[in-house]
Amino acid sequence: MQNDIEKLSDEAIVERVRKSDQEFYSVIMKRYQDRLMRYAGGLIKDKDKATDIVQSSFIKAFINLNGFDTNKKFSSWIYRIVHNETMNLIDKNQKEAVFPDGFDVESGEDIEKDFEKKEIKEKIEKCLADMPVLYSEPLSLYYLDEKSYEEISDILQIPMGTVATRISRAKLLMKKLCQKN
């Protein structure tokens, strides 16, 4: 039974929650809470607030579950909700540092060769806290949550080209930050 449930896709579980058994919602939460906690924690940099954000996101997702299109990815949808909740809280508190005006890093340079994905993953976790959210968020989604550019584009509501640029710039920035550390 447990194996059968584990094999079900998120979208299939959502369908069950909507139609027959709301208890299945706990399966969804179990699948996502660790990842969402890390994601929200990385953005808000406060564990308690991240916990509140994830909890309220699960509640909002449940309330609006009938509005979710099961032809789309549940994963992107729930990440989008957490993103919105986090940004709303950041706006409200205005604690998060705004990205400095005029800041730019040269782009177009392919530094993929310099960093292997695994190596980057480890470094990201160390350096992410020092990065502005603008760059840390897509980088975290790409390397830590292993989202595709398309999924990141859906979650952040930005074009795929912008996702690529931000990740590329984030890698350069990370290189600088990590070397400094």
Partner: protein, 177 residues
């Protein structure tokens, strides 16, 4: 699994079981989507028609008559249509303001593109003569007919409307006292 994480799941499930948290019914989202669609379509039709008609009126009666012609357009225009559009859009968006992929789109860009699209469509309608088709068969048949009848395309200056305005005491800029 950490204590906090376990608590998140437990607390949410407890609220669901107790009925404190309930799913919004499906029809809620359907009504929202339908209203948004109706609002969007009616606002587009209204705006395109207004632009085409205004351009047509100014071209037909330029100079000092343009102001009067515009006033005539305003008085003839079915204001219920844009009001319906705004109300439908407002309620529709409010209802479906759920956390889907359309949430938090950059509405400034959406509005700019919409205005540009409507403006261009209005010009195209006017240039290609689609106004005439609308006049005879389209959704604005009645309004167009009223405009032509009262506005005086056939009767030169729109004597009927002009007289009505004069009798109501409305001062027209091109008439001497």
């Amino acid at each position: 699994m950490s204590k906090e994480l376990k608590n998140i799941g437990d607390e949410v499930m407890a609220k669901i079981r107790e009925g404190q948290v309930k799913m919004k019914p499906k029809y809620y989202f359907i009504v929202g989507s339908v209203l948004s669609f109706v609002g969007l379509v009616s606002s587009l039709i209204t705006s395109v028609f207004l632009i085409a008609l205004t351009r047509f009126a100014f071209r037909s009666h330029g100079g000092i008559f343009a102001e009067y012609r515009f006033e005539q357009l305003v008085s003839n225009f079915p204001w219920w249509a844009p009001i319906l559009a705004v109300v439908s859009l407002f309620i529709g968006i409010k209802l479906i303001r759920r956390y889907d992929f359309s949430y938090k789109k950059n509405f400034v860009y959406v509005v700019i593109w919409l205005v540009l699209a409507v403006f261009m469509a209005g010009l195209v309608f006017d240039m290609t003569g689609l106004n005439d088709i609308w006049l005879q068969h389209g959704p604005m048949k009645g309004i167009m007919r009223q405009y032509f009848d009262e506005g005086g395309v056939r009767s030169g200056l729109g004597q009927k409307h002009l007289q009505a305005n004069i009798s109501r005491g409305i001062k027209l800029p091109f008439l001497k006292d």
